[in-house]
């Protein structure tokens, strides 16, 4: 068959239109944002990275409380799985940039929000604190940590985790002549026992990839500097070039020498597993690690012990998940309803019982929680609260990235202590 010119031109034109339509169709897909309803009803899209395990269980429990408190608003799960939240943060970055925000999204409370604040992507919710009566329910220390310099607060925490916890395997300690009941005054006392373990041929301290090393670093800084000077590291009142920071970095270097050599290839569950399996004596990790022990039927006190990092007793190195109110949220009333549940006693108890963290509120009944959680709740109520570096409470993302880069360079042996200290100082001062 031979086509004449006109026919082929028509065909070409049709093909052009078809392709253009297809291109448009592909371009307008916005990831399924729900249409907002009016008033207090409608749907609320909650964007999280809680897609599996105890986090998913916690979210489900929170949704249960939400449905009871706000039956007129439909919860839409916007959870994105993958990469401990990095996949979700990537997608969130894109959506906020395209001014297509979810109704509310999960973010680490504290300085990690600074980028969103600077970009005018989230609203000040301090008015909601008064409206929901959260100002009295949360510890004053926590409110200080959450507020920006001008007193605004941009998110409502759903749960609290503690970062400065040492997990230990008492069997390994006993077998190698270390008293499992021992309490350590400071890092030096602890390192004396670590030396004993090293001489006995076991891995004294397990650690994983860079962020867990930064996590270890922050607890060392906290132990040596004390809560006030530690907090000063982030607001500029403590000098990074000072001698006490140098001493802390020396301690950090020494602690790293007790750790497993395959650390950079592991993530925290594998490092904690070394303690569970008896391949390492100690592990410094946040208290989400308790879930790993409990999942394998280990009993606190008998199969594992937990205590604050030596030298940080009386300090609670906190990090928190929280929810925000994005600028231009399709259904702000729905988002406020969600935030109300997040801050409410019922919501916090339901969520944290399932997730294994503790409520940010001080009026929850500790009897509802597990044995470890009870100790954490007690400390949270009485300890000085400081912000975690490795988990975004203390600094914005860019600072944390620079600190991580410097730390990785140091722990792989590519820089010496003096360079490390300079790079840390440069990282924090921006």
């Amino acid at each position: 068959m031979r086509l004449n010119r006109r026919t082929s031109a028509t065909v070409a034109g049709a093909a052009l239109v078809g392709l253009a339509l297809a291109a448009c169709g592909g371009g307008t897909d916005d990831g399924g944002t729900p249409e907002a309803g009016g008033g207090g009803g409608g749907e609320v899209e909650v964007f999280t990275w809680w897609a599996a395990g105890s986090e998913k269980a916690g979210l489900d429990a929170l949704v249960g409380a939400f449905d009871e408190q706000h039956p007129d608003v439909t919860f839409v799960n916007g959870a994105v799985a993958g990469g401990a939240g990095s996949a979700a943060k990537d997608l969130l970055q894109t959506r906020l940039q395209a001014q297509d925000p979810p109704d509310t999204f999960q973010a680490h409370a504290g300085a990690e929000l600074q980028d969103y604040i600077d970009a005018a992507q989230i609203e000040d919710v301090s008015a909601l604190y008064d409206e929901f009566g959260l100002t009295d329910a949360f510890p004053a220390d926590l409110l200080d940590r959450l507020s920006t310099e001008d007193g605004a607060i941009y998110s409502i925490p759903s749960n609290i985790h503690r970062a400065n916890v040492v997990w230990a395997n008492p069997t390994v300690l006993e077998d190698n002549g270390v008293d499992p009941e021992a309490t350590y005054e400071d890092l030096d006392a602890w390192m004396a026992d670590l030396d004993k373990l090293k001489a006995a041929g076991v891995t004294p301290l397990s650690v994983a990839t860079t962020w867990t090393q930064v996590h270890l670093l922050e607890t060392v800084l906290l132990a040596n500097l004390g809560p006030e000077a530690y907090t000063g590291l982030w607001d500029g009142s403590t000098d990074w070039a000072g001698a006490d920071v140098t001493a802390s970095l020396e301690d950090f270097e020494k602690l790293m020498s007790y750790t497993n050599t395959d650390r950079d290839g592991l993530d925290w569950p594998e490092a904690t597993q070394m303690v569970i399996d008896g391949n390492a004596a100690f592990n410094v990790m946040g208290d989400w690690a308790v879930a790993a022990f409990e999942e394998q039927d280990k009993k606190l006190g008998a199969d594992f012990t937990a205590f604050p990092v030596p030298g940080t007793d009386g300090t609670f190195d906190f990090l928190a998940d929280s929810f925000t109110l994005p600028v231009g949220a399709p259904n702000p009333d729905g988002a406020k309803a969600w935030l109300e549940t997040v801050g409410s006693l019922e919501g916090q108890v339901a969520f944290n019982k399932a997730k294994g963290s503790i409520p940010a509120r001080t009026d929850a009944d500790p009897a509802d929680f597990s044995e470890y959680q009870q100790t954490a709740i007690e400390s949270f109520g009485s300890d000085t609260i400081v912000s975690s570096l490795a988990h975004g409470a203390a600094t914005p993302v860019a600072t944390l990235n620079a600190v991580s880069d410097a730390t990785s360079k140091f722990t792989t042996g590519a820089s010496d202590l003096a360079t490390y200290q300079q790079e840390l100082a440069a990282a924090v001062q921006g």
């Binding site: 010119r5 082929s8 031109a9 070409a12 034109g13 093909a15 052009l16 392709l19 253009a20 291109a23 990095s86 943060k89 990537d90 970055q93 906020l96 940039q97 980028d115 969103y116 600077d118 970009a119 005018a120 992507q121 041929g201 891995t203 990839t209 860079t210 962020w211 497993n260 050599t261 395959d262 950079d264 290839g265 391949n279 914005p396 993302v397 860019a398 990235n401 991580s404 880069d405 990785s408 360079k409 792989t412 042996g413 590519a414």
Partner: protein, 300 residues
């Protein structure tokens, strides 16, 4: 005029959709990327226009190229690429050469060697992360454990955790994965050489080596060039394999693609775009001469 339009019109119309799409989504976005890379758009506030960003021309590039961290990434990239290229070329050629001789079970071996290519980098990366475990001695696992078991203890090493040459260890899985592909290319090249040429050379009294040196290798050189270009540009863009064996923050395995990712995650779009542009330029340095070369030989 009208006649010309009639003749050129339909083909142009047919091509137009893809031209527009490629123009907007490839070249247009490269343009946007370049425009971002010459601004001081380093914070989230500037990205959304809350704070002004100004054009600083090539300062980002100069800062990056002058920074020790980025130089380390570039060195890693070069090391990785050299080892990856040499490894796949040598292995691929050797396999093709062996399979080119009439061997029993050729099809079987061909599939065996080609198979790793069917696995995604992310999946094989997870497995190789275990194989390349850097523990030695009692707690060793993976390849180090294997070396112990076969009595080659001295071969144990810390693989990708070596500060200087760690990246080379990551080239090992990359070589494992793509040597089969290079083999297939070379094998096709060998098969494309008519038997008459070999016979003629033998008739003229050429030794085996001379046969390869003067008859077969020259015929294979276009294949070798294509293989170099294909593997080379894949190597320069390597990201998924490195990310799934190592982690973005690990100093020892930083490459520019990882830097780009880390910059983007901290809302530093200008530096992220600059790293992207640098990568594009490096790839172009490899590809453009090749395109010019092949264009010329086609015309001839």
């Amino acid at each position: 005029m009208l006649k010309k339009l009639r003749r050129a019109g339909p083909p142009l119309l047919l091509l137009l959709p893809s031209l527009i799409l490629v123009g907007v989504f490839v070249y247009g976005l490269i343009g946007v990327n370049f425009a971002t890379s010459v601004t001081d758009n380093h914070t989230a506030a500037q990205a959304t226009g809350q704070e002004p960003s100004v054009v600083v021309w090539f300062r980002n590039y100069l800062d990056l190229l002058g920074s020790e961290a980025f130089q380390h990434s570039l060195v890693n990239l070069v090391l990785f690429t050299v080892v990856f290229l040499v490894g796949t070329m040598v292995m691929g050629f050797a396999w093709a050469w062996m399979l080119d001789r009439p061997v029993r079970g050729e099809g079987f071996f061909r599939s065996i060697y080609l198979f790793p290519m069917a696995v995604s980098f992310v999946a094989s990366g997870v497995v190789w992360r275990w194989l390349l475990n850097s523990n030695q001695g009692e707690s060793a696992s993976g390849l180090n454990r294997l070396f112990q078991m076969i009595g080659l203890d001295f071969l144990q090493n810390n693989w990708w955790n070596n500060v200087t040459f760690g990246i080379v260890a990551i080239a090992v899985p990359a070589i494992w994965q793509l040597s089969g592909y290079v083999m297939a290319l070379f094998l096709a090249g060998f098969r494309g050489i008519p038997d008459e040429l070999r016979e003629a050379a033998r008739m003229d009294g050429a030794s085996e080596w001379k046969l390869y040196r003067h008859v077969l290798f020259p015929q294979l050189s276009p294949i070798a060039l294509s293989a170099l270009i294909i593997i080379g540009h894949m190597s320069l863009k390597s990201f998924d394999l490195i990310m799934s064996i190592s982690k973005p923050a690990n100093y020892q395995t930083k490459v520019p693609a990882v830097d780009m990712y880390v910059f983007k995650s901290s809302f530093d779009y200008a530096n992220s775009a600059a790293v992207g542009a640098i990568l594009l330029i490096i790839v172009a340095l490899v590809i453009v001469p090749y395109l010019i070369h092949s264009n010329r030989s086609e015309k001839r």
